[in-house]
């Protein structure tokens, strides 16, 4: 890509400083929105851009905003900076290096939602980063870019940072709201959705950090420009994370629809040590595991195409594994994660992850019983469609697809005892 739109700091040194960000057009999009557009017009632009939520679900952002219950106030905006999906570290780079583009995005979202208070929910481990962000927000208040009567209008906005304390589930938006209210981070039953009853029971918009960072360029350069990047149904740039077995791990900003091959081999430098790529998890630990093949590598990474080959793009956090990796071990590792992070509220997830962990430990620890592989599959399939939130569902995906697509890596499958 000729220029970075989200990781713009890579082209513009010092962009984390307010004067540098403003020198390069920073806060012009917000000024124009507040001075010349109604909130409804801002929502229309975002809808027209086709921007889809970058947290993983890929839901159209403008449409999500339009679900806000009319005429109910106060409203809130919450930025989801609880980045915790194994393999994902894109929001962190945006927050660390391009914080003002993110904060301008929060302000644009808040104006569109007619919210006067926004919270940034940072995962607790981002302790240092949260302090930095608080400093940046203080600079915005001092510069009159937050506060009362913004740009001479009657619109007022403040942003506060709230620190989580180590719970993956708080990335789920209703669990995040519970946590922000000072409660256990356990998902709510939906409906009502947050757009109707969110923070403190009021209409609330929750968007991912990367989603929000897309807003200033969309407003500054227009929906038609934005749609010129990416694919028809998945427009715009995306920050892809590469981790695991890869020569050059890190974040890569590329148009949605870039192929796996281009990302992994051209940008990421391919497999270290000349080994063969065996498997790809495109959505972090929450992935259906793809067996690497030419057909997979030539698939464009947009929401529809990755779904069509039996996985999901999600947060576009690719965990790559070479031919030395045992997929039964991978199933154990992801299950350890989900079992630890299950909030315990619903039975299928709480009990299911517990039993999947026992079984994957037996299967990888040399103590497998002949029926264990079939039993693991039965537990995973039995959980599907029954959990309160996506965490439980996601926990089954690497397990079910490891069994289905890499059966030879499981003891009973090779022994034929089951």
């Amino acid at each position: 890509m000729p220029e970075h739109i989200l990781l713009r700091h890579r082209d513009l040194p010092g962009l984390e400083r307010l004067e540098v960000y403003r020198k390069h057009g920073g806060f012009e999009a917000l000024r124009q929105a507040i001075s010349t557009q109604t909130p409804a017009q801002v929502i229309d632009v975002v809808k027209a851009s086709g921007l889809r939520g970058r947290g993983g679900a890929g839901f159209p952002t403008g449409v999500k905003w339009s679900f806000l219950t009319p005429n109910v106030f106060p409203r809130y905006v919450v930025a989801n900076a609880d980045e915790s999906e194994p393999g994902t570290f894109k929001d962190r780079e945006i927050l660390e290096r391009n914080p003002f583009q993110f904060l301008e995005g929060v302000a644009i979202c808040a104006y569109a939602a007619q919210a006067n208070l926004a919270y940034v929910y940072c995962r607790g481990e981002f302790w240092d980063l949260a302090r930095v962000l608080e400093g940046k927000i203080a600079e915005l208040r001092a510069a009159g870019l937050l506060g009362k009567k913004l740009f001479g209008s009657d619109y007022a906005l403040d942003i506060q940072v709230h620190l989580g304390a180590g719970a993956y589930i708080c990335g789920e938006e209703t669990a995040l709201l519970e946590s922000l209210e000072g409660k256990l981070g356990q998902p709510r039953l939906r409906p009502p959705f947050p757009a109707a009853e969110g923070l403190y029971g009021k209409p609330t918009v929750i968007n991912n950090v990367e989603t929000l960072a897309n807003l200033p360029p969309i407003l500054a350069r227009g929906a038609a420009w934005y749609r010129g990047i990416g694919t028809e149904k998945s427009p715009g740039p995306k920050v892809f994370c590469l981790s695991g077995h890869i020569a050059r791990p890190g974040n890569y900003e590329l148009p949605l629809g870039t192929t796996f091959r281009e990302l992994i081999f051209t940008h990421g430098g391919g497999m270290p040590g000349g080994r063969r790529l065996k498997a790809i998890m495109p959505a972090g630990a929450s992935s259906s595991i793809l067996a690497a093949s030419d057909a997979v590598l030539d698939t464009p990474m947009d929401y529809e195409s990755v779904a069509a080959i039996g996985s999901a793009l999600g947060s576009a956090s690719l965990i790559l594994m070479d031919e030395t990796v045992d997929m039964a071990w991978v199933a154990r590792k992801t299950t350890e994660f989900f079992k630890h992070e299950s909030c315990g509220k619903c039975t299928p997830c709480r009990e299911g992850t517990y039993w999947m962990l026992h079984l994957t430990e037996r299967l990888t620890g040399g103590a497998a019983r002949p029926e264990d592989t079939a039993l693991l599959e039965s537990v995973a399939r039995g959980m599907q469609g029954k959990c309160l939130c996506a965490l439980g569902e996601f926990s089954t995906m690497p397990v079910a697809t490891a069994l289905e697509r890499f059966g030879a890596d499981f003891p009973a499958a090779t022994g034929g005892a089951a």
């Binding site: 393999g87 607790g124 989580g164 695991g244």
Partner: protein, 166 residues
């Protein structure tokens, strides 16, 4: 008492949330209590509960739920190594094992001088710079990335030196 010693900070925390929703301040106040006492004591639970008008059991449940709160004393610093899948693919499990060997502890244990508790933790959003860990102490949480056993031992030496000067 937190309320006496940290009045200004407590008021700044409470001011972040609408006055009728003081309970939202529970988590930042628990961090404050933990920094003050080293871990969240039974008395601290009551102090936090009183500050936000909640029950002690409600506040206590947060300590059990969220991994960055501790209701038991540990080392002066908690060295928390990510051993999740992406880090494990880059050698984090071997790193954790060797570091533990060097320190003469197992995961979850504290060094005999009471300085360092080594823990294995879940993803810290530093997968591209594994092996990596964070250090949680009275001064917050700080990341250390692209680590080797040698560089980690140096971090630990620095922590020990810092503590002996404190």
């Amino acid at each position: 008492m937190l309320a006496d010693k940290h009045r200004a900070e407590i008021e700044a925390i409470l001011a972040k949330y609408p006055p009728e929703h003081r309970r939202s301040a529970a988590m930042p106040l628990l961090y404050l209590a933990q920094q003050e006492y080293g871990h969240v004591t039974q008395d601290a639970l009551q102090e936090v509960a009183d500050l936000i008008g909640a029950d002690r059991t409600q506040v206590g449940s947060l300590v059990g739920f969220y991994t960055l709160y501790h209701d038991q004393p540990g080392g002066m610093y908690r060295l928390q190594i990510c051993t999740d899948l992406p880090c494990a693919l880059r050698g984090a499990e071997t790193f954790a094992e060797k570091l533990c060997e060097n320190l003469g502890v197992r995961l979850g244990e504290t060094t005999p001088d009471g300085m360092i508790t080594v823990e294995g933790v879940m993803c810290l959003a530093g997968c591209d710079r594994a092996p990596m860990f964070q250090v949680q102490g009275a001064d917050g949480i700080h990341y250390h990335e692209d680590q080797s056993v040698e560089s980690a031992m140096k971090v630990i030496d620095d922590l020990r030196r810092k503590a002996s000067h404190a």
